[in-house]
């Protein structure tokens, strides 16, 4: 975190109950969380701890049962589904574990789709999308179809798509889970680079301990509550160990 960073996402007292009656399950039990611009935050925890649910709430895909969420100064608790969708497309970029690219569109078209959703579909949309792919190292593959790409390439397209239109929050759900070690670390390097932008915050949910050295902050969640939050000090040796 730098002196220029600011709180871009603020969650206060987030409670989420799924199901009803006998099958009711309190997945989040009062979560307070802030995301700062210019920072890569990792969220870790055991399965069933509520990481994905919290990610969905932070991304305005789910609404909390109780609590308040503020993104870029906008409070979400009064918004309906379509308003939340609008907030999502303007301010949030997603990177999914399974990439979730549209298989019938090429790499550049997948990124242009995100621009189109954000009403950035002017005459230079193709160039913007191509530039975004070049920035993630895929300038030579802009017309490739997802079926012809490796996992690492697809995840980089996914990151380019998430960045298209410069949203202020990037949320990544297990971005390295489907990748081998080399590609996984490359993706984390990319996310770390993305997080350096002081206008943007990046949160990645991960089980992968090799990603720890890239984090500016690590949040642990357990049984629906934030169990810890720390800012690890990176040493050269730790980075080297992670790379091998």
């Amino acid at each position: 975190m730098t002196t220029e960073s600011k709180v871009i996402v603020e969650a206060e007292g987030i409670v989420k109950v799924l199901g009803a009656g006998a099958s009711e399950n309190k997945v989040l039990k009062g979560v307070d969380l802030q995301l700062h611009t210019g920072e890569l935050t990792l969220m870790m925890g055991p399965s069933g701890s509520g990481k994905t649910t919290l990610l969905s709430i932070l991304g305005c895909i789910l609404s909390p049962t109780q609590g308040r969420l503020t993104i870029g100064g906008l409070q979400t608790h009064t918004m309906n589904k379509e308003q939340l969708a609008k907030l999502r497309r303007k301010h949030v970029g997603f990177v999914f574990q399974s990439y979730n690219l549209v298989p019938t569109l090429s790499a550049v078209e997948n990124v242009m789709l995100a621009l189109d959703l954000r009403d950035l579909n002017g005459p230079d949309a193709y160039d913007q999308a191509a530039d975004a792919l070049e920035a993630v190292g895929l300038g030579h593959r802009i017309k490739a179809m997802p079926s012809k790409m490796s996992g690492g390439e697809k995840q980089r397209v996914s990151i380019a798509r998430a960045l298209a239109g410069s949203p202020s929050v990037i949320l990544a759900d297990e971005p390295t889970a489907a990748l081998d070690a080399k590609n996984g670390l490359a993706v984390m390097e990319l996310l770390a680079k993305v997080a350096q932008d002081t206008r943007r915050a990046v949160l990645a949910v991960t089980h992968d301990h090799r990603t720890l050295p890239y984090a500016d902050r690590i949040i642990t969640i357990d049984d629906g509550r934030i169990a810890g939050s720390e800012r690890p000090k990176l040493t050269e040796k730790a980075v080297e160990m992670a790379a091998h």
């Binding site: 994905t52 990610l55 969905s56 991304g59 895909i61 789910l62 379509e82 969708a85 609008k86 907030l87 999502r88 497309r89 303007k90 949030v92 997603f94 999914f96 574990q97 399974s98 979730n100 549209v102 298989p103 019938t104 569109l105 078209e109 242009m112 789709l113 995100a114 189109d116 959703l117 954000r118 579909n121 005459p123 230079d124 193709y126 160039d127 191509a130 530039d131 975004a132 070049e134 920035a135 993630v136 190292g137 300038g139 490796s150 690492g152 390439e153 798509r161 960045l163 410069s166 759900d173 080399k182 590609n183 490359a186 390097e189 990319l190 680079k193 993305v194 350096q196 932008d197 943007r200």
Partner: protein, 404 residues
Amino acid sequence: MELAVTAQPFAHQRAAQSQRPRSRGRRLPMVFKLAYRNLFHDRLSFIVTIVGILFSVVLVAIQSGIYLGSANKIATIIDAAPADLWVVPLGTKSYDDPSFLSGRERYTALSAPGVEASEDMVVSFARWRKPLGGETTVLLIGTAGDSPKALPANIIEGSRGALEAPNTVAIDRSYFNDLGVSKLGENAELNGTAVKLVAITKRVRSFTTLPFVFTSIDEARRLSGANQEQASYQRVKLLPGANIETVRNEIQARLPDTEVLTQAEFRTRSQDYWLKQTGAGAALDAGKLLGLIVGIVIVAQTLYSSTKDHINEFATLRALGAGAGYIVKVILIQAVLSGLIGYVLGMSLALLAIHLAQDTKLTIIMTVPLAAQLFAITIGMCVFAAISAIIKVVRIDPAVVFSR
């Protein structure tokens, strides 16, 4: 795998760093691109959809064309010998449901103010005996030779003038087999009287199975046993500027035991009788409805199936913030595109079938307004069929993108 690591944040990447030439020109909207890529992605499903629409279009086009052709055929004689007003016997259901007027109608009609002319027309059932044996019933039609609308029209061999000679008839060439004659000069029997074929027409066919046989007004009276003053109908022509309703009322008052109809009324009455009262039209409408239902069911099923196949993509779009309207647009474009392609192919096939049926007993007509109506129906059918897919897609929970 090498990463393009740069010192600058991504938002500040400058186009000048790229060696790639900048693109020019407008591109297809993404929503349209997504729709047609989804549509053509699964070739088999696309083909099934198009075949379903094609079948529907062909069936509805042919049935509608037969309906239109039948309506035109029913009105063939009325259209070929038009009049401002028709004086017909009370209770006449259709022009080919003939009976005879008393015989005073012509002069009575002529005495009404506003009437320029009144012509006799005889229509009667008759027995035709073939040269080589066998009998069949025909519809005998006689008009005056000096009338500007003397029947028959569309003579391809012989002449109308030849029908003024006694014991002469004209028939359509499509009835050669039914009537056992095949060329000019051949003889047959009509109501026990020998007659000679002196004129041949083309595409003058009856809606019913009864062939038309044309002759002069006098010969028609003689062969049908009517007296020299009698006719089945009076075709009344008005003086220029005469008010049709005023003249109609005048004639009706003078001939209370008849009906006085306009051209359009007599036409519609004849068409309604055959197409609505006999059930023939209902059968054609049932065929059209069947075609529509088949089209709707097939398109609905394939669109729904395609939506299910692409549900993850739609969920991702929702997760990325696409509004419900955006995704509905994708589905609707798929539906409309399918309809467009299916219509073009289906109508081409229908037009080919219509062309091949031209000289057969089946009269199928296609007009530009009918084709336009069919286009609207096809697109409407596909949009309607998309409802189930749309319902599926708007209910997507975007949170499923995180479910693994």
